[in-house]
Symmetry: C2
Subunit: 232 residues, 2 copies
């Protein structure tokens, strides 16, 4: 009952490709934080055995997109407000310095790639696909880390961006519009100019803006929200 594995029409389904697909779906807010990810369910969807599915879930749990609890299975992670602060504080520590390095090392090809990223983001927004726009906006940040040539730090930022997506899903304030257009554009300009100081400063303020656009008032670690919701 295994798939014929026609490499043209049917790219092979590996545990990595499943992790990737789930990761994108979570980034794009098509799967909400807290959603149960049953093994049988996923193995049915992807046409592989639970063995493979379990490997992908383990991968996702290591970047903390997914919570695995023994005998309880996997579900999409649901970061607390404390964790949310931690994630953004970590980003504020890592990314400005990384943007500085990126400004020093960026090539014209890098700039072109980033501009194309921004263009795609705009297109997604115009198509009212805010989930996709958020995903692309995350890629923008990891791409800058990659340009900085610090693969290790880039890996950290990748996980932080992933968790940020969950945090935004949970705590984003409706009032504040997600207007990253200008921030990202200005950053690319600074990188193109190799203006290290400005790149660092723009990244810092961009992250502070994001952080403060979250509603992170303590709600007892998001356990009472159910009670709140039903107390009407």
């Amino acid at each position: 009952m295994t798939r014929p594995a026609d490499p043209i029409t049917n790219p092979p389904v590996t545990s990595d490709s499943i992790a990737q697909a789930l990761s994108v779906a979570i980034h794009e807010h098509r799967i909400a934080p807290g959603t149960k990810l049953g093994e049988d369910e996923l193995s049915e969807i992807y046409g592989v055995s639970r063995t493979v599915v379990r490997a992908s879930l383990q991968t996702l749990s290591h970047i903390r997109l997914v919570d695995i609890r023994r005998n309880k299975g996997a579900s999409v992670a649901s970061p607390s407000t404390t964790e949310a602060h931690e994630v953004f504080e970590a980003r504020e520590l890592l990314e400005p310095r990384t943007a500085r390095s990126a400004a020093r090392r960026s090539t014209p090809a890098d700039i072109l790639k980033l501009e194309r990223h921004i263009h795609d983001e705009h297109a997604a927004l115009d198509a009212n696909d805010s989930g996709r726009a958020l995903y692309l906006s995350g890629l923008f940040h990891t791409e800058i880390a990659r340009i900085a040539g610090q693969a290790t730090i880039a890996g950290f930022i990748e996980t932080l961006v992933a968790r940020s997506s969950l945090i935004i899903a949970l705590y984003w304030r409706r009032e504040s519009a997600l207007c990253e257009k200008h921030a990202h554009h200005a950053l690319v300009q600074a990188l193109a100019d190799q203006n290290e100081q400005q790149a660092e400063e723009l990244m810092r303020s961009h992250l502070v803006d994001l952080h403060s656009a979250l509603d992170l008032r303590e709600r007892n670690e998001r356990t009472l929200s159910l009670k709140d919701a039903l107390s009407s």
Copy 2:
């Protein structure tokens, strides 16, 4: 043929406990970088099936202590000089700031714990168990991150410390003695005094010392060393 699981004499063997055991063994340099970690071999040693062993190896590969290549299996990672620089640069970015936070937040109980750590390190050194001393010295760093109350960053530092252990196994210069005693002791003093500035500065210089005690001259990513070794 499963184990009776007497919880007193036989703590249950989980994939986490295997990962932990391997991690310590690697930290203590009882398993060298590059060593093949066969699944059958490990499942025999720990008395569990390959399923469980595979899960632990996957865990270790996510913190980059282990390299898994498809159809080739797992082996202890062997970081290149480039990766080594990256790891220490990341540490130099993260840890000084973290030490500063730790100085702000440390309690007398924390200080006591750190002092006990240092004591254990000395004991290991006196017993000529330099592997154990290195492992404890790594724990010292992750403990400080934990005191800083940034679990996210602490997690990053944990993986950086782990990889540092591999790097030290590969690139440590014999000439320079591993004299962390004083550095660690001075750091604890700064934390006890809640002297943020000094804690940050001591951590930075400690890491720079470590970094510069490595022999990271390019050797073509450590591929020629075999040829070198056989050219006598």
